[in-house]
């Protein structure tokens, strides 16, 4: 495509902003740490917040650029010899990813030391690098670019998981994620290689043309391998084994980031690969996705029932939600199809999950280094100690369970199940709603702990230890998430209509 270099640069400007910002942060850290010896304790405190706010600022600027590129790119424009494709879908996802990253950064701001993270600026820089990878991931129009961006994202994440240097479970989490993650990357890469062997191209749109009516066993093998590599990041059963340990072990900020941002990026890319590259061999992947969705929903929900650690429970719950989202893969369609449903669901899910992690961080931040820091007993009697936190957690739990007043969760399920029923997957939807009924049990158990149980300290007649004060950043996350959950539920059109508009032009470059 004959676009000038300047225009091409502008199309990827969010990416550039994020990467430059990350480099800037690293430089800033290098220079400020030299000065650190001379500044007082409070000065350091201010410094750490500075890095956080800078990160938020960078993400906001990037989001603005993202919105602007959306206007410029129109229905879709390739850049850099067709390696990057900027269309409404990638722009929309880009903004969602940036927004999610912003929430994750705000979540941890001022609470990083409590989580055992000592290198603050590096932490923020790594978050930015991972976000940059995710941005490129959803905009990749070519499979090698896709793989490389996945690796940029993943490598930053491996480091982030282990960023609580002194905690063994953090290191364990990083190692597990690294080993299994590289394994899955290998699957994806092998799938891409085979696909190249069959079609002679790595461009998604060209792949789609080449394989039309040209199905071969090798193609199926490559489809299978790529699917494994992609759903690993989504956390679908049976490729989920990493998720609980990694989620529980990683610092809560990182867990929230992974559960929302990374999952959103992976879902979007899987959507693109399945709906565009493999559109013509639907018959091969429909059965596989159907089976994966059922396994993921049932597996996630059933194992979540037994969890006593809230973070681990949320890890399994995020697996279950991935299962619901995979249903939408099977239901393409217009305004009311699976694409728009999945985008709505992703945003709703991000808000509720991020909110839930914010509450967890608010409750457990002081004891993050303990082994059982997120045990459900830590939530006993929370409604007495911190009524606001308890009420918000109840809202997020109800929303995840799909019960009003947590309307975003209900509407998300409504859109996805509606699209699936329209595509005649009634049996699948019945399995899904029964799963959603099962999930009520473990979500409500958190409410049981907060509202119906006495706090442990209360029994021993000791003064109930006060929760640490919430940082303004954390409060803003809670505010945004709870408002979003209710508002997007009351007026789902605000979100769903634009999601539907985005999906109208969904195609390959």
């Amino acid at each position: 495509m004959n676009t000038s270099l300047g225009l091409q640069m502008f199309l990827v400007s969010p990416l550039i902003v994020v990467v430059l910002g990350a480099l800037l942060l690293l430089l800033w850290e290098a220079f400020s740490s030299r000065a650190k010896a001379t500044v007082s304790q409070t000065g350091e405190c201010v410094g750490q917040d500075c890095a956080g706010w800078m990160t938020v600022g960078i993400l906001v600027v990037a989001a603005f650029f993202g919105a602007a590129t959306g206007g410029l790119a129109g229905p879709g424009q390739t850049a850099f010899s067709g390696f990057v494709y900027v269309d409404p879908f990638s722009t929309f996802m880009g903004v969602v990813l940036l927004f999610g990253s912003m929430l994750a950064v705000l979540l941890g701001m001022g609470k990083l030391s409590a989580q055992g993270i000592e290198a603050k600026s590096e932490f923020y820089a790594l978050v930015l690098f991972a976000t940059a990878g995710a941005l490129m991931f959803v905009a990749a129009a070519e499979l090698v670019t896709l793989f490389v961006s996945l690796e940029i994202m993943s490598l930053a994440l491996y480091a982030l998981c282990g960023s609580a240097l002194r905690l063994r479970r953090s290191a364990e989490s990083a190692l597990k994620y690294f080993l299994l993650g590289s394994f899955s990357s290998a699957f994806l890469l092998y799938g891409i290689a085979l696909l190249y062997g069959v079609t002679g191209t790595t461009f998604i749109s060209a792949v789609s043309r080449e394989i039309a009516g040209n199905a071969s066993p090798i193609l199926m093998l490559s489809l299978g391998l790529m699917l494994v590599g992609l759903v690993f990041k989504i956390g679908a059963v049976p490729f989920h084994f990493w998720a609980p340990d990694v989620y529980q072990g990683a610092p809560t900020s990182v867990t929230a980031y992974m559960a929302c941002v990374i999952k959103a990026a992976a879902v979007a890319v899987t959507l693109r690969v399945l709906w565009v590259a493999f559109e013509d061999v639907q018959q091969f992947w429909i059965g596989a996705v159907w089976t994966l969705a059922v396994l993921t929903m049932c597996g996630g929900n059933l194992i979540a029932l037994r969890q006593r650690s809230v973070k681990r429970m949320l890890a399994y719950s995020s697996i279950a939600h991935a299962g619901y989202m995979m249903i939408a893969f099977l239901a393409p369609g217009d305004t009311n199809g699976g694409g728009a449903a999945i985008l709505y669901y992703l945003i709703g899910y991000t808000l509720m999950t991020m909110g839930a992690f914010a509450v967890i961080l608010g409750v457990t931040s002081e004891g993050e280094s303990e082994r059982d820091h997120d045990h459900i007993s830590k939530f006993y009697g929370l409604s007495e100690r911190a009524p606001l936190l308890a009420a918000l957690m109840a809202l997020f739990m109800l929303s995840l369970a799909g019960i009003p007043p947590g309307l975003a969760g209900l509407l998300g399920k409504f859109y996805i199940f509606g699209a699936a029923i329209r595509a005649d997957y009634v049996g699948l939807v019945i399995i899904a709603v029964l799963n959603s009924a099962v999930s009520c049990y473990y979500y409500l158990r958190v409410i049981v702990a907060m509202y119906f149980m006495k706090s442990e300290a209360g029994d021993k007649a000791e003064p109930v230890e006060a929760l640490p004060a919430l940082t303004p950043a954390l409060l803003s996350v809670l505010g945004v998430c709870s408002l979003g959950v209710v508002l997007f539920g009351l007026f789902p059109g605000l979100l769903h209509d634009s999601a539907a508009a985005v999906m109208l032009g969904f195609a390959g470059p």
């Binding site: 009003p404 029923i421 329209r422 019945i430 409410i447």
Partner: protein
């Protein structure tokens, strides 16, 4: 007037959005409660009382504006909510939902007054109650399937908290059981709703709508589809009623719930299942309903007899009343599935009656429990001498509960039995066993607690009802006799709507049959339809009143038989 034509009567719709006001006032009230510090118990209670009384007042104004001669929905509000999915914010009230709405707004101030037995976190309790009121009212007036579903699900969370926080020892078990039972039913209903909507969209050039009236008009379903869809709806509603064998959550929930929770559960929440059958399951899937009706009637009768027997065997007063609810609601189910104007009108009225008498009984049990902290029947005895006013109130509501003539219970039960006997003679005959058993267990209860020797050591210090409790109970007492002596005003509003409802159900059955191409049966149905329309017009014009309704009903039976 053709029942199918009464889609929307815009002329009646007042300019003032009565229904939205009634539905959302309690919610606003709940939010306002948080303006007061939770320590100022009396201020908070007064505020809640004010909110619920204003709601009741506005619903009374709506009642005055309600035109009983019209069977159509009144006070209709209709605004788009989720345009891309055809979901509308559509509200309306007819004779079937009118009294349930009134009962809801009427019971809520009483529950607030009776909240004196709640000692902890009163503000949260009252807020949950008010949110629950919004959810219940919304469920009763929603005419859009998805809006209905949202309100239906919204009833869960507040009740969950009410039982869980302010409940008894096993409240966590009871409240989880309550929620999980209800959720399993209702999620399957969501699938059914979505399926119907897409079928409708397919048949109408992709025009998606969740509006009940539009779905009724032209959604053709095969019998298999109808069968499963009705089954999904029936499961959701059957669990809520509850119909045997889905009743096991009810005694647990009742026993563990605080007094106000029990009142609202028995008074209104349980009626939602029956209301759902009438409003949604029957009109949408009439032929499947016809197929299921004898089985549902059978389950209802099992519920009546079984519930009565189990109630008889209880040692705990509250459990006894809870099981008596299973039996009483069995009668209501029987009345609904009998599917004729008399029985169904009776069932609608009996829902109100049960709300009044059982609600009052739960309040009375609460009074005893507040004083003695036990509900064991053997702990009491000879109370009539010690607490005469209490004994008198208990007697009246006991008699109302066992449907003695002159009380409200009699009218409803009589209508149900009269009507359903024409359809299910054997089952109805068996169900009368429940009437007798009802008298047995309630009078035994009365005998063992109120008469006999007073155990002065244990009950000698028992105080009679105080003025707050009296204030809660007297309005109910009045209603027992008002409905018992003057049922006509109530029935006058119910009957035209029930008749129109029946006509609409039959018309939909006809159109479903027609669409399935069984021309022969269709012709037969059409034949009987003409006769029925004549009867309906007579009813609508008000020339037939209920108590002299018998002859007309008989001719109804002779000429039509069971319409299906």
């Amino acid at each position: 007037m053709l029942p199918g034509d009464v889609i929307m009567d815009t002329t009646v719709a007042a300019n003032f959005p009565f229904l939205s006001t009634i539905v959302f006032l309690p919610l606003i009230g709940a939010a306002l409660l948080y303006l007061f510090p939770s320590s100022k118990v009396e201020t908070v209670r007064s505020a809640a009382l004010g909110a619920s009384l204003v709601t009741f007042g506005i619903s009374l104004m709506m009642l005055l504006g309600f035109d009983s001669s019209i069977s159509a929905y009144q006070f209709v509000e209709n605004v788009a909510w989720i345009p891309s999915f055809g979901v509308r914010y559509q509200l309306g009230v007819d004779g079937i939902s009118l009294w349930l709405v009134m009962l809801t707004t009427f019971l809520m101030p009483i529950i607030v007054v009776a909240s004196r037995s709640v000692t902890t976190k009163l503000r949260g309790y009252l807020a949950a109650m008010l949110v629950l009121e919004t959810a219940m009212l919304g469920t009763l007036v929603a005419l859009d399937l998805f809006l209905f579903y949202v309100f239906w699900e919204l009833m869960l969370a507040p009740m969950y908290f009410i039982i869980g926080i302010w409940g008894g020892k096993r409240s966590i078990y009871a409240t989880l059981k309550f929620v999980l039972y209800t959720v399993v039913g209702s999620v399957l209903m969501l699938v059914a709703i979505l399926y119907v909507v897409w079928q409708h969209a397919q048949q109408h050039d992709g025009e998606i709508t969740f509006a009940l009236q539009q779905l009724l008009l032209g959604t053709n379903l095969s019998f298999t589809e109808e069968f499963w869809l009705f089954a999904a709806f029936a499961l959701a509603f059957g669990i809520k009623v509850p119909i045997f064998p889905f009743h096991t959550w009810l005694p647990d929930a009742h026993v563990e719930a605080p007094t106000g929770g029990s009142v609202v559960l028995a008074g209104i929440l349980l009626k939602m299942g029956l209301y759902g059958f009438i409003r949604f399951a029957y009109p949408l899937f009439p032929l499947a309903a016809e197929l299921f009706a004898p089985y549902l009637a059978g389950l209802a009768v099992i519920g009546i007899v079984y519930g009565s027997l189990v109630a008889w065997a209880q040692h705990d007063i509250k459990k006894l009343v809870a099981y008596s609810s299973v039996a009483h609601l069995g009668f209501c189910v029987l009345g609904v599935v009998a599917f004729n104007v008399i029985a169904t009108s009776g069932a609608v009225l009996q829902m109100i009656n049960h709300g009044i008498s059982t609600g009052a009984l739960f309040l009375l049990v609460g009074v005893l429990y507040d004083r003695r902290h036990t509900r064991e029947i053997s702990e009491y005895g000879g109370l009539a001498a010690q607490v005469p006013v209490f004994a008198f109130l208990f007697l009246v509501f006991t008699l109302s509960s066992i449907a003695l003539p002159l009380t409200n219970g009699f009218i409803g039960e009589f209508l149900i039995l009269t009507g359903s006997f024409q359809v299910f003679p054997v089952l109805t005959a068996i169900s009368t066993l429940g009437v007798i058993l009802g008298a047995v267990y309630m009078l035994t209860l009365y005998l063992r607690t109120m008469f006999g020797e007073l155990d002065t050591a244990r009950n000698g210090n028992l105080k009679d009802v105080n003025r707050h409790e009296l204030a809660a109970l007297v309005p109910l007492l009045v209603l027992v006799f008002v409905i018992g002596l003057f049922p006509q005003p109530f029935l006058r509003a119910i009957e035209p709507s029930v008749a129109a409802w029946k006509g609409a159900v039959q018309m939909r059955a006809d159109s479903l049959l027609a669409s399935r191409g069984s021309a022969q049966r269709f012709a037969k149905e059409l034949d009987s339809h003409e006769v029925k329309l004549a009867a309906l017009e007579q009813l609508d014009s008000g020339s037939v009143k209920l108590l002299d309704y018998q002859p007309a009903a008989r001719s109804d039976r002779q000429s039509l038989g069971r319409e299906f």
